[in-house]
Amino acid sequence: MARKRTLLKTLAKILVALCLIVAVGVAAALYVMNGKDKEHARFFNTGKAVNTFLGNYSKAVREGVEKKNPATVAALYSNAYASQGRGRWVMQPDGEQSDVAVSKVVAEGRQDFTKADIPEEVSRYFNTLASVQNIWTKIDMIEQIEPERRVTLRVKFILDGTGRQGEIFEDRHFYRWTLVNESSAAGEINWKITNDELIEGLRVAGDGGGYKDVNPASAGIDFKHSRDPKLDAEKYSAKMKFDIIEHGSGGVSAADYNNDDRPDIFFPDGVRSRLYKNVGDTATGEVRFADATSESGLEGIDQSNAGLFADVDNDGFPDLFVARYLAPNKFFHNNGDGTFTDRSKEMGLDLNSTSVTACFFDYDRDGFVDVASADYDGDGFPDLAVANDFGRKCLFHNNGDGTFTDAAKQAGVLDFSGGMGLAFGDFNDDGKFDLYTSNINSNQRWFGEDMTVSQYVRNVARTKWLLLDMPEYKKFYDLVGSDWVSIGKKIGAGNSLFRNRGDGTFATIEDSHTNRAGWGWSTTFLDMDNDTDLDIYAANGWITNKSKDDL
């Protein structure tokens, strides 16, 4: 009996001790979390204030150009501003390429700069501008941050303007700025530039006539892209988690379906996909298309994202494969007389053709966004590269026996980012296919989500994300080890260009001037000016942002 009581007592003691430990642990966790939340709030506040400051800088430049007065810009510099050995930044002609004249911004001399030197410097830049159309001043990369006190960052300054000779141009400058908070009031931030440094700057100028923006309707194309009404984000996005499907649609194919050597156009669409027959006159260069959707028997294809033509049965006429989301894919056989017959059922999925395999890898709703195919290692078997949204790239090496192995890590093209598209092309003419990837690039998002540590912990606990994500973290760790920081930088950096080393691996090209294109979607290699060098066209755009197509 006595032994039992002693045992109970001991148990009670242990229980009390455990409770105490848990209570202290929880209190400590809450304290740390609270501290972290405060730290985060300051961090967030800092980022927000930097974005506001950059916005003000854009405004100051626009106002200054209009008033021909550098004072608005100079006011953003600290009285304590000092850049040693900065030199004057001047524009130097750097050759002409196709229809474009290029100037480089270079630092001239090694003169120390103080605030007194700023107005003249700004005026000299203003003098190269007749008018300004658009200005963006954006965070390219935060390099150092002391919350609410000091920030060193790389700034991307883009100005679309018109020059004194009527030429239109785009300036694309990268600076390193140090910003210091000069407000004495607590919680208030008043940034001033205390130091600046030129990283690189380019002006590309031309007459804007290189590509004639033809009104599609005047060329017979009366198409307007529509999203699938079934993908109404309000109603369904909770189910689908992410509205990429709603916003992601809009492929386009240029294919000669009737073998008359004039490329036709197919627009996959959410509501009604359309086929336009090229009926232009190649002898005179007249461009004309005719809607052939009905006559070809392709009426009523909805919910589609991509339509790819390939002569699957080798009868000489390209058939059409339509990739659809949330609906069965479709396969249309080309009858050779300008009409198609729906043979989706008969064909099944086991088609023995690279191109169609690529199609089948497309858009199966699980994050696979796009596929490009090329024999990157020259072993005679086509390999596949896949861009995954919110993840890494896959490079499927064709083993030649009907199977593929993911070789992205060994090949060095993991390329962590929000992958959207990729393209193979031999840009340096060494006989090996290089790889260009388009990724969603936005450093602003950093500060866009006001997620605190405690919120994150609560969310993780509530949604069991951590458990669900654990295998992903593990995979991530296996692939890259603990080098998280560089991945973070990579994700912010945008598109990537990889050079094929020829031994089955790729080298990242750092200074190709092809990243930072924006929110990337489609990307393609082409020699646009027939100068024998491959150019890159990358289409950009996102829901409400101002979108731009970059080359």
């Binding site: 390429q97 590509y211 809009g250 240029a254 004039r262 190649t282 007249e286 461009v287 090329a374 080359l551």
Partner: protein
């Protein structure tokens, strides 16, 4: 280097897919762009300084008929370039099947080498080039013909632009160079 604005190809729509093709048959690549919830954009290439070009339409006999996956190496003015036949590239997009080579100031083609998906290799050089291989043409090449009998001119390309600036050799670039 971003030349979208000075060349007039910087449309401000919410772009998705890009289809590249020579719609007007002038040897200069045009683009059609599908824009989300918008009318599409049709860019006709009007670059004044544009070099010669050649477009090769490959027809497989033992390989798949579109010759998807074929690699073509073309030599002109001492420079060898490579393209591959693709059906589907970029984001949900497909470019025209014929492969396009910009040739700069080159007035003739020196060699063409094709590796067909079937594994067959064909090399046209010197005598075997034949009369069909010329600049500013759309040329049809059938697989497996050792002589140039399977090579025919489908159409000539209406070339109106001035030659691209710079000499071919000096504009060739290596890995670390800037793209344009």
């Amino acid at each position: 280097m971003d030349v979208a604005r000075p060349t007039g190809s910087d449309c401000v729509k919410d772009s998705r897919g890009v289809g590249v093709a020579d719609f007007d048959g002038d040897g200069r690549l045009d683009m059609v762009i599908n824009n989300n919830n918008e009318t599409p954009t049709l860019y006709l290439n009007n670059l004044r300084k544009s070099g010669n070009a050649v477009e090769l339409k490959l027809v497989g006999t033992r390989s798949n008929r579109d010759a998807v996956g074929a690699r073509v190496r073309l030599t002109a003015s001492g420079k060898t370039m490579m393209r591959q036949v693709e059906a589907g590239s970029g984001y949900a997009s497909e470019a025209m099947l014929p492969v396009h080579f910009g040739l700069g100031n080159a007035e003739r083609i020196d060699a063409v080498e094709i590796t067909w998906p079937s594994g067959i290799q064909q090399r046209f050089e010197g005598e075997s080039l034949g009369a069909a291989f010329g600049v500013n043409r759309l040329i049809r090449i059938e697989e497996g013909t050792d002589t140039s009998r399977g090579v025919t001119v489908a159409r000539s390309l209406r070339h109106s632009a001035a030659p691209a600036s710079g000499d071919i050799a000096s504009t060739s670039q290596t890995g670390g160079g800037s793209m344009h």
